[in-house]
Amino acid sequence: MRRADLKALRLRALWEGLVGRDGGAGERIVPPTGFTAQLTLFAAAAMAFLAVFALALALATGRLAERWSAELAQSVTVRVSAPSAEQASRTQAAMQILLTTPGVGEPQLLPEDEVARLLAPWFGPDMPVDALPVPALIDLPIASDDFDAEGLRLRLEAEAPGAVLDDHSQWRRPLVSAARGVRLLGAVSLLLIAATAGAMIALAAKAALAANGQVIRVLRLIGARDLTIAAAFVRRFTHRAAIGAAAGTLLGMAAVALLPDASAAGGFLTGLGFRGWGWLLPLLIPVVAAGVGFLATRWAALKMLGAVR
């Protein structure tokens, strides 16, 4: 877009496109065009519907990444594996080390029934867990930034053989990284949706301009500036983009609201949705769509009008 085009960009025209109706004299100079009107409405509605899901995906994965990151930073686990005869003494030694480790809270030795419950998904409920050489598990909350995981790992190695520090990073970091990747994907999807909507609206605007060549010729001969002619098309397409996107957004929000509740099933996919203030974010989609419609039509109209004397 040329600097002159940007200079002539009027926020008032954008606002009029959002709230105005196709009834003023300015808009009436362009005859109603059924096909391009329907195409713009449909494209804006479909893209807004998709944008709602992309936004929900980005927000859900963002929440997941933050939760996993937070949990990662909140606690570590010490696993003590030893022959049965030495299990208690080595566990005790590890506990002593943990009690004197700076930056941590009070270590909690997981009771046997809790360990059995954790193992049940793998061995089944009937397996006699107490007959297995199950390691002792100590949950260690992290209290401050003074905690030095590497230092503790070395101390355990030296003073409590068989005690291994597990800071959960091996399995959680790739998941957090994946969740962040999906969030980025959601954001890229939103950009692609906006670009596609802009391209479709620009094409529809070009079709409308081409179909109204005679009108444009008459307007020019009576002294209409390119900006005036373009504004008539811009307002109409901005209005249509906003209306279509509003309909698509409401449908998308309704569809998201009907998805199963996260708390009921507990999985990631069922957590795809909006929480609290997050429900307000999709309401920005029609505003963005109007902005995209405004810029796309303005660009297409001025480019096309500039190419014809």
């Binding site: 009436r28 001969l221 500039g306």
Partner: protein, 224 residues
């Protein structure tokens, strides 16, 4: 007001339809432009309202060379020059009154409904104010075009074969309106091949008659 200085124009390179044309349209004058069909009358008029740019020489409008004008400047020029075209074009989806007021609308002026009604009354189109252009007769279309051409009170009114498709009575009615405009101080240039119309009009107004012949512009003979 508008001057042609050795201006020429050709639709094809190397072949000029009009050449070495010199003309000065002064304020308050009435001109006729005549010549056979295809002589270049419409082309000359298009040069005057910057629909075409000269391929040689210069066209100076209101002190500015048309070649140096930007797109917005040309739009501004066309607000000072009212044009009645041979094949008058309207926005067919708008009623006559809105079509006549269109120059005001696109130039950002408010439409004074009383003045608009007076203007439609002047061209005797009051009853057709709400009609759509396709329902108008040839004479009504030309009068609506004249009303649209003068609504911004231009300095110059150009009419390209305005009576081409009209009978004699309707032609004289339209010519009467153009003469009234000239008497109110407007400069008028009418392109027509109808010599009888020119003779009849000259009985009412002091007009200069220009003829295009062999690509050049000359004053018509004593018979006109």
């Amino acid at each position: 007001m508008i001057e042609l200085q050795d201006a020429g124009f050709g639709y094809h390179e190397g072949a000029e339809l009009l050449s070495n044309m010199t003309l000065s349209l002064q304020k308050g004058m009435f001109h006729f432009l005549t010549g056979p069909s295809g002589a270049g009358k419409t082309t000359l008029l298009r040069l005057l309202y910057a629909d075409l740019l000269p391929t040689s020489g210069r066209v100076i409008a209101f002190g500015q060379d048309l070649r140096g004008l930007g797109r917005d400047d040309i739009a501004g020029l066309r607000r000072r020059v009212g044009v009645v075209h041979q094949d008058t074009q309207f926005l067919d989806h708008l009623p006559v009154a809105e079509n006549v007021a269109l120059p005001l609308t696109v130039s950002g002026h408010a439409v004074d409904m009383t003045a608009l009604r007076d203007l439609l009354g002047w061209v005797q189109l009051g009853p057709q104010a709400r009609a759509l252009p396709p329902s108008l007769s040839g004479g009504e279309r030309q009068r609506a075009a004249l009303a649209r051409a003068v609504i911004l009170s231009p300095d110059l009114v150009l009419a390209d074969e305005p009576t081409g498709n009209l009978d004699w009575d309707m032609s004289m009615r339209l010519m009467q309106l153009l003469i009234e405009l000239n008497k109110s101080g407007k400069t008028v240039l009418v392109a027509t091949h109808d010599l009888n119309l020119i003779r009849a009009a000259k009985a009412q107004v002091a007009a200069r008659v220009l003829r295009i012949a062999n690509g050049g512009l000359q004053l018509a003979g004593a018979d006109l």
